[in-house]
Subunit: 379 residues, 2 copies
Amino acid sequence: MLNKHYLYIPGPTPVPPEVVAAMGQPMVGHRGDGFAKLHGEIVEKAKAVFQTDNDLFVLTTSGTGGLETAIANTVTPGDKVLALVTGNFGERFARLAATYGAELTRLESPAGTALDMEQVDEIWQARGPFKIVLATHNETSTGVTNDIAALGEYVARTDALLLVDAVSSMGAMDIRTDDWHVDIMVTGSQKALMLPPGLAIVSVSPKAWPIVETNGSPRFYLSLLEARKSFATKNTPWTPAVSLFYGLNASLDMILREGLANVFARHARMALATRAGAKALGFGLLADDAIASHTVTAIVPDKVINAGDLLKMLSQDMNVTIAGGQGELKGKILRIGHMGYCSELDVIMVIAALEMALYKAGMAIELGSGVKAAEQALF
Amino acid sequence: MLNKHYLYIPGPTPVPPEVVAAMGQPMVGHRGDGFAKLHGEIVEKAKAVFQTDNDLFVLTTSGTGGLETAIANTVTPGDKVLALVTGNFGERFARLAATYGAELTRLESPAGTALDMEQVDEIWQARGPFKIVLATHNETSTGVTNDIAALGEYVARTDALLLVDAVSSMGAMDIRTDDWHVDIMVTGSQKALMLPPGLAIVSVSPKAWPIVETNGSPRFYLSLLEARKSFATKNTPWTPAVSLFYGLNASLDMILREGLANVFARHARMALATRAGAKALGFGLLADDAIASHTVTAIVPDKVINAGDLLKMLSQDMNVTIAGGQGELKGKILRIGHMGYCSELDVIMVIAALEMALYKAGMAIELGSGVKAAEQALF
């Protein structure tokens, strides 16, 4: 079989050739003027994608290190933290707060559902006020997008800080960091930003800084105060992942050249086509249309075929990799990543692979029916 | 001027073309069998370079994050920590311990000198016992190598753990992690390992694990317990920097193919040639021969020319980048990095650039005299 692999998991995602080429540029000293200039430009471009005027930092760590940066710089033992958990990554954010000694209140939504603002208000009345609120914009484990605009409006009326995990949606969906009053927004490099893993990007609001400045938890490598001090001269406090910075500059250029509105529309269309195609093939959809992620679609193969068998067939017969479920959803769902260096034609190809695999497995599938539905959804 | 840059700073160092090519390979899912296999192989190769049978972890963070991993997993507030500070990076290690609440005892050696075992014994009698001892194998800021073998023998007779920063020497010098009784050894990717920055590698001894298991400091992304748990299935707890892992596999292959003994001898010869050449040009050497680093040479331009002017001439006229001093040594020394993808001919080129710059500046330098001395040193 041709050694060509088709990667449609929710991260890492394929890296465009021009980004690979950019990453191959020679090393430079990270204390020199050349790197400082590049660093300054990257931060401005990233602010455009974040839709923010807040301070923004590019950190040499993967997404979880970005989430820990948000927690370690704001949570002191005993602080009241409200964690809005809609899946595995919301749970990770909550665990991080617990690690730093938070007095944690968890509001959990069943898998496939989104956070409910009425419940947020109820729990706030009963257990609040909170110092910190944690939320996930796009829950990678279930394919659900939460309404951060509504949550942000609510939290902005309080003294609390809103910390948001946008690891799997930033650069793919319309995320308005400032309009939504997000105090610390976190993303990673290996999703819609089309880079290999290894960088996190974090924005910090004026409301958050006094908390960061007085927070008592130990942190050094992930210290936002060190990052801010160094950025005054466009430096990083510790040695940055230079090749990934080169790549980030190239990928941000690609995103801004396509235009944010076009990028967002492309991802919305990919989600639409994926959902239509999967439905036509008899799959269930874990999330309702209204809260469906534009970057990852969780499909439920119950009535169709065993999830593990399907994953194996796609991988072994066609070199197509999609993801299974995590935690309690393991073996129960499949997840198709459609973000970053990925267009409508890519998702049609994934649907084609799915329908051929089902056909081969002897299911009563009409060849082409999934693709037809996906194509129709695009018109 | 030709757009070709000659980088001789003590990290980041040039990346070999075959490593660049390896890093350009397509992304894969980091939870798949392919990545697990690669990960397992990388760890075995890195253990060979570390000369250790201890557990070893590749972390997605730069060197300072590796040092913080050592501290955050072993230091609880109030712990007695002895920091052996021989320069800027020893100071950073000490600051890290202070950040985690250590009751810190600093033993400082003047710039350009190495740690003194008699003083270690004296301070141990007066202020010990300590729970943790911090040392730097190769002090990048001064070009001094410390005798970790002697220190390790001393500390091994106590209950204390020995944590060693080998960021700028691992893969270049003969470092015997197990024979020297080093409990946590830390290195980074962007020095002698010939990679871009973004990875740290950390080994952990059986003596260290009970301390790690019971340590009370908060950590998550840098948790060694999480790393150990995931490595049981050749996984990483958080998304790894996949492209840098590809590169690390290739660079470790290069090192092991050349042979560790040959790699170490090459670095020793580069240091010898650099020192001879610089001396012939009238420079002083910050470190004595007996404690001179094999990866970075600090030269003192006092009698020759202003350090800043020389740096600028090399950079602007010849595209050659070497490093200045840090902290109190700023403006007082120059540092030539000779590690990783670098041979004896490279350092001869640097000496040639230095002598041409001095000649151009009107100094009474005989052209070729530095290079001649460097070449002679090699025979």
